[in-house]
Amino acid sequence: MHRLDEPVTPLMQSTTPDVRVAMLEAQLRQAHDHIAELEASDGVKAQSLANISHDLRTPLTAVITHAEILRDGILGPLTPRQLESVGGIINGGRQLLGQVGEILTYARGAANQLTVVPSQFDLSAVVTQICALNESLASRKGVALVSDVPVDLEHVTADREKIAHVLGNLLGNAIDFTPAGGRVWITARFVAASANRECLVEVGDTGIGIDPEHHELVFREFAQVDSSASRPHHGTGLGLTIARKLVELHGGRIWLESGLGEGSRFFFTIPDVTC
């Protein structure tokens, strides 16, 4: 196949303009066919990934439920050490379930199966809830977690669960990449946008920061700036890819400001569709 970026061949130069146009059109059709094949193949892969991750949940469900039956004393009381051990199974299982859930969300996004179900909701309440969920993780790491969202912030119209998911992923990363003694914060406010208003949310940290040359890389699937097996930060590498997908599904934007050793500030917007 003749690639579109290859120079025009002598054969083409020696033919009439009509023939050249016909040849170029044929090449264009081939290129379109090739793109369609690649897109179809991508779609099949995304669907397979969604199916696999969905199926992984089933045995995990059984593991977690059996362990909870033991923990809750339904089969009789456990000793403190047995409880500790069973608690480990449950925590490990739930952590794995969360990671499988991330892969499933990513795969559904890649297969264009995610839909936004908008409602009007109180973003400050969601921020409070996400902070509460992450408080113990932050305090175990010795990281201060603060939110600065006005309690009277106007309600936003968006998919509450998906916005909570974005916040959870950004906050989880911020805590993960901030050493002890550091600070992580969330702010939100309405700002004027080009045609409308939008809610601007920031999740910032005083952590290790990201070199500007890697700013685009961090939003790519399965990307971590240090992707070696011995990397100090683990996870699916999908958190920011999912965050970007969910923000863009709302018609918003997501970006970051950061430099190595300077901490990171992630921003995203939720368009105000009520105006």
């Binding site: 089933t58 469900t61 059984a62 439920t65 039956i69 339904i74 089969l75 839909t115």
Partner: protein, 123 residues
């Protein structure tokens, strides 16, 4: 002696239905397991079900068919709850439209599921 509430677990995965059996049998319920639509309909139409825990993917098709078939036989369970691996809005809406009392994403914490089951059965 009061009869134990009858819980039917329509679930095609033995690991999951096994866990449900232990959970409900050990807490004062009578449990039946059905991995297929046909078996679920057979059980519920011959032995009245108080609580149906319904997986959407059964070996012979869409779990919600259990409800439409039982409706035709006038043998609906007192309470039907979908326990699914998918919580997309369209799935939830379809379950509600077919008469599910609730739609829960697996795995529901054991303690929480028991608490809800007691509430449903107390009605």
């Amino acid at each position: 002696m009061t009869a134990l509430p009858h819980v039917l677990v329509a679930e095609d995965n033995e690991l999951v239905s096994g866990a449900m059996r232990v959970l409900f049998e050990e807490t004062g319920h009578r449990v039946s397991i059905a991995p297929s639509i046909a078996e679920a309909v057979q059980v519920a139409s011959t032995d009245a079900v108080d609580l149906l825990l319904l997986d959407l993917g059964l070996v012979d098709g869409d779990g919600l068919a259990v409800l439409s078939q039982l409706r035709a036989l006038d043998a609906l369970p007192r309470i039907a709850v979908a326990l699914t691996g998918r919580d997309e809005p369209e799935v939830v809406a379809r379950c509600r439209a077919m008469g599910c009392h609730d739609v829960l994403l697996k795995p529901v914490p054991a303690r929480e599921l028991l608490r809800m089951a007691r509430e449903w059965l107390a009605r």
